[in-house]
């Protein structure tokens, strides 16, 4: 029996700090926009506060529920079922702007694709924990493990939300890698994914434009490369110490989505190198403590679950920061815990609660 230890305080504090930073920066980044949209500069902040409250409550709950209780077909398959159902029904319920991402119930809206990430992680952990000895078996282990991910990815891609879809694939790859899937399969899947990627990018001009903008940020500064250039301007003009809270200028409609996908640019602009380094450091600490939980957990289900949750947050964080810094093409992935978005925050916090619970049961 693993001895009962206290949960990982580093993870806990890092999480709270990131949420706090997020709330402050959401207000700073969205005040002008919120005033325009809701008539009050606190519009986005209040919504995020609600999300944070629900998320923290859920986190408090999940960190006190023994994670092994999730290791039951009832839990795994009901989560999978609900996610599938929501992902399918979102096509019929939400037709706004030709995208199908949100459920809206009055003031509350929910993004089911956010639920797909923990569903995949839970499924993978549950399934792979039963296949520890046959990890090299492609037909009986790997294909069944990947199948639900592929199904979700397909549904999400056609919302369309390529960013979340890629995040799901990345999380799956991470868990499989930690679980010990043979390396050659990663190579195979990469080669096989090229064809659909080709269609998904080359056939959609706006995605193609993002790629070209990434390759040649100076070519079309007012057109396709506008967003990435605005992001770089925001980051670079932050300088060493930044312009100060609320003093950023790029959020005045130059930055796309300053409170969601490009919130890191606002942080970098207003708090400079010191502020952006702090945020990067917090995510690095989270990654380190998450990896430490993985490392110290003997139970395969706990390991995979911890690996999935940690990689979910770290992957999204690093991809988001890389996009803001022009190191990757634009994708539409938020900065976990910091970016505006209730669904993401609630789901992420609930997952972290599970991770914290695992951390209590390490050796």
């Amino acid at each position: 029996m693993p001895k009962r230890v206290s949960f990982d305080r580093w993870l806990f504090i890092t999480t709270l700090l990131l949420i706090f930073i997020g709330l402050v920066m959401i207000f700073s980044a969205s005040a002008v926009m919120a005033k325009e949209r809701f008539g009050s500069p606190y519009g986005f902040l209040l919504r995020q506060l609600v999300g944070a409250a629900i998320g923290l409550a859920l986190m408090a709950l999940t960190m006190h529920i023994d994670y092994k209780r999730w290791k039951s077909p009832a839990a795994v398959f009901s989560l999978m079922g609900v996610t599938t159902l929501l992902l399918i029904s979102v096509f019929f319920l939400d037709r706004a702007h030709h995208t199908h991402r949100w459920f809206r119930f009055g003031p509350i809206s929910f993004q089911p694709s956010e639920l797909a990430k923990p569903a995949i992680i839970l499924f993978l952990a549950y399934f792979l924990a039963t296949r520890v000895k046959t990890m090299t078996d492609a037909r009986n282990t790997l294909l069944p493990a990947v199948a639900p991910t592929l199904m979700f990815v397909c549904l999400i891609v056609f919302q369309p939300d390529l960013g979340t879809a890629l995040a799901c694939l990345g999380i799956t790859a991470c868990v499989l890698f930690i679980a010990g899937a043979p390396l050659q399969y990663f190579g195979f899947s990469f080669v096989f994914s090229l064809l659909p990627l080709y269609f998904l990018i080359w056939k959609f001009p706006y995605r193609m434009a993002r790629i070209t903008a990434f390759m040649h940020p100076d070519r079309d500064r007012l057109g396709a490369a506008f967003h990435i250039n605005q992001s770089l301007i925001a980051v670079a003009t932050g300088g060493m110490g930044g312009k100060g809270l609320m003093e950023g200028k790029q959020k005045l409609f130059y930055l796309p989505e300053p409170h969601t996908d490009f919130i890191f640019a606002v942080i970098a602009e207003e708090f400079g190198l010191l502020g952006s380094m702090l945020v990067v450091a917090l995510f690095a600490i989270f990654l380190w403590r998450g990896a430490r939980v993985v490392f110290r957990t003997q139970d395969p289900f706990g390991r995979y679950l911890a690996a999935g949750i940690t990689s979910m947050i770290a992957l999204q964080a690093f991809i988001n920061v890389s996009v803001v810094l022009g190191m990757m093409p634009t994708k539409g992935i938020p900065l976990p815990l910091v970016s505006y978005g209730g669904s993401s925050l609630v789901v992420t916090l609930a997952s972290i609660g599970v991770l914290l619970n695992i951390s209590r049961q390490t050796e």
């Binding site: 930690i178 010990g180 670079a236 200028k249 130059y254 952006s276 990896a291």
Partner: protein
């Protein structure tokens, strides 16, 4: 444990993954440092470029003062309106509403606004009423900004000399030449706009006001010159004219008037003809006035004497198979009469003694063929053929003022050098620049280094001969009341550009002269282009000379050197008694000389409203008192002198916050010290015995508190 090997590989994988994230973190950190530290400046520039619109705002332009500190050109703050198109809900209707008030073309204004996008002026430097009406529209997106506007309080006065200002830039005259000093450091309005072209911030940086310029011009003398020029134009129907009034001792130009003229306050009505500063940019054939050069050169080279008799061959001479006729047949005449009666034949014969080379040397010495360097743009150097290219005819033609082109300012400078004992001085219109500070400042005008052309003896001989022109020659109309005067007439046929021959109907009549003869205080040159009817210099230009000279000499309190006959004195006294109600067209010109008569409408009423008081005046001339003693006034002064004339020539007392200088003349040194220290002045006595004989600056003039008053003591 059985899973030991599995664990090892899992740990390796975990480490590998950790390694990937470490590398990723490092890459992010490098990128951040690179962007935020090393590319900070580049991106800041790009940020400023897209956020900030710089709208340059002219600084307050320096004031142009006359020599007594009267404002001739000043800037006042007015308001401009501009539109931020991104903020206006309905740009087209906003623009049309505003243009409805300003009277501009709405289509042009709208096109401007749409191409400008973030900012465009709709009413630039408008008057208060227009701005108020625009303000009352209460339209969103319309904002206001204060800007300096140029204003010429004296309207047409010295228009070509001052020039005018376009939106923010001097376009002619002093305004153009001194653009750099006058404009100062422009400020800017920075409008910061968001990506939707709405502005969110506006900052203004004020410019550094430009330097003030003090001219040598005297507002009153300028006014007199313009008034008399306009009168002459009306009487003679000349198409254009120029008057220059100079102090021959210092080269200061006291007035420089041109006709036609313009009102620089009404930019839209300005014509090219009005803008032309004929005094410096016109080239004309001087005609007989140029005989002064011929004769002066001959005297200086000692090839003739004033009383040498020449045979004027009954007005006929054949040069290179061309016969030249005098305007009337002259027989045997001394050189002085050749000047007085303006004999072409005589002048040619004198020039022939000189020869090409020597004659040419004097032409250049007198400043012809090169700009005088007066502080005005577009000065011509005239047209002077180099001596190598002279034909057989040239010497004769130039001797009588043909085949050579001069500018009025060159003529005035030449005549001034005769008056100035043979020293040619470059003319100046600018006394100096003054920093726009509130502290009092005094500037001194320092005459430029002169160039001796004639010996004082030759110059004196020339003055005597030129007095003959007035006394018994071609210019009896240049006789002054109470002053001796001298000068030379000129009547040049205009070269008809169509035929290339001399016109039989168009003449340039001119007169250039100085007074008083033995101690000249002023030079006046008058040039009238294409007078109709009477056209000779002695008939059309000499009366203008007379009227201006008489008034300005009186104004400057130059001591009379000619006895005024008793009945004249009576007349004068009567005129003085009823100042102001003298008929303008009185056949007797004396009246007009003593009173500032009715102001013609076009000339500023400000001059008339605030008559220049004698106590405020600063005599520009009247120096070399030592000499003056020899020719002491023959008659008593008709106007009591309120201030003794100063010997320190060329002082421009310029007052920005100044005090009146107390009168110290007649006081002992001790009393003078007490008075001056009570008035806040520093006394600098010259000599120690006796009482104060003279002082500078003069009593009644204004000088900065704490400045120095120089007094000369004597017995």
């Amino acid at each position: 444990m059985a899973t030991n090997s599995f664990h090892n590989s899992a740990q390796k994988r975990l480490l590998a993954m950790g390694g990937v994230f470490v590398l990723w973190t490092l890459a992010v950190v490098f990128r951040l440092v690179n962007l935020q530290i090393f590319q900070y400046r580049d991106y800041s520039d790009r940020e400023a470029k897209q956020h900030d619109r710089y709208i340059p705002l002219a600084a307050k332009r320096g004031t142009i003062y006359d020599r007594l500190g009267h404002e001739l050109a000043a800037s006042v703050m007015v308001e401009s309106a501009f539109i931020v198109p991104g903020e206006a809900p309905d740009l087209a209707s906003a623009v049309s509403l505003v243009t409805g008030i300003t009277g501009d073309d709405p289509h042009v204004a709208l096109a401007n606004c749409q191409s400008g996008k973030t900012f465009c002026w709709v009413a630039r430097k408008a008057d208060a009423e227009t701005i108020q009406r625009i303000r009352n529209l209460n339209l969103r997106g319309i904002h206001f900004q204060r800007e300096p506007k140029r204003y010429y309080p004296q309207k047409e006065l010295a228009a070509q000399l001052l020039g005018y200002v376009g939106d923010d830039q001097g376009l002619s005259g002093i305004e153009r030449l001194y653009e750099e000093q006058l404009q100062g450091q422009p400020g800017a309005m920075v409008i910061s706009v968001d990506a939707r072209k709405h502005w969110y911030n506006r900052t203004e940086t004020e410019g550094e006001p430009g330097s003030n310029i003090v001219l040598t011009i005297d507002e009153y003398i300028q006014y007199v010159a313009e008034r008399e020029l306009e009168r002459a134009i009306q009487e003679t129907h000349a198409i254009a004219g120029t008057v220059i009034v100079m102090n021959p001792r210092t080269g200061e130009v006291l007035a420089l008037a041109n006709w036609p003229t313009f009102n620089p306050n009404r930019r839209k009505a300005i014509t090219n003809e009005g803008l032309k500063n004929r005094a410096v940019s016109d080239i004309y054939e001087p005609g007989s006035t140029f005989k002064v050069v011929t004769v002066a050169a001959a005297l200086e080279e000692k090839v003739t004497k004033p009383d040498e008799i020449f045979d004027c061959q009954m007005g006929k001479i054949v040069i290179d198979k061309v016969t030249i006729h005098d305007h009337k047949p002259f027989g045997l005449m001394p050189v002085s009469d050749i000047i007085a009666h303006s004999s072409d034949v005589g002048a040619i014969k004198i020039a022939m003694r000189l020869g090409d080379q020597r004659f040419y040397k004097y032409i250049r010495l007198f400043g012809f063929g090169q700009p005088t360097g007066v502080e005005l743009p577009a000065e011509t150097r005239g047209m002077t053929k180099p001596v190598e290219r002279w034909s057989h005819m040239s010497l004769a033609a130039i001797a009588m003022g043909q085949e050579i082109g001069v500018s009025p300012i060159q003529l005035a400078a030449m005549m001034s050098s005769i008056a100035n004992d043979g020293v040619w001085l470059p003319p100046h219109v600018v006394a100096g620049t003054v920093e726009p500070k509130n502290s009092p400042q005094q500037i001194m005008f320092h005459p430029s280094e002169g160039r001796r052309v004639l010996s004082p003896v030759t110059a004196a001989q020339m003055r005597q001969m030129l007095q003959g022109v007035v006394l018994h020659g071609t210019a009896p109309k240049a006789i002054l009341e109470g002053y001796s005067s001298a000068g030379k007439t000129g009547t040049a046929q205009k070269l008809d550009p169509a035929t290339g021959t001399y016109s039989k109907t168009k003449y340039v009549g001119s007169f250039a002269g100085f007074a008083p003869v033995n101690n000249p205080a002023l030079t006046v040159a008058v040039i009238l282009d294409s007078a109709q009817g009477l056209h000779q210099g002695g008939q059309v230009a000499a009366p203008v000379f007379q009227r201006i000279m008489q008034q300005v000499l009186e104004y400057q309190h130059v001591a009379h050197d000619v006895e005024i006959s008793p009945d004249r004195k009576l007349l004068l006294a009567r005129r003085n008694a009823k100042t102001g109600d003298v008929a303008e067209d009185s056949p007797d010109h004396l009246g007009a000389t003593l009173v500032a008569a009715e102001t013609p409408d076009h000339v500023s009423s400000a001059v008339a409203r605030t008559p220049v008081i004698a106590t405020k005046m600063q005599p520009a001339a009247n120096h070399w008192q030592e000499k003056e003693e020899e020719v002491r006034p023959l008659g008593e002064p008709t106007v009591p002198l309120t201030a003794p004339a100063t010997k320190l020539a060329g002082t421009v007392v310029f007052d920005q916050e100044s005090v009146e200088v107390p009168s110290l003349v007649g006081k002992s040194l001790r009393a003078a010290l007490e008075i001056s220290s009570a008035g806040g002045f520093d006394l600098e006595p010259m000599g120690t015995v006796g009482v104060v004989k003279e002082q500078a600056p003069p009593a009644g003039s204004r000088a900065p508190a704490g400045s120095r008053v120089v007094v000369r003591l004597g017995k």
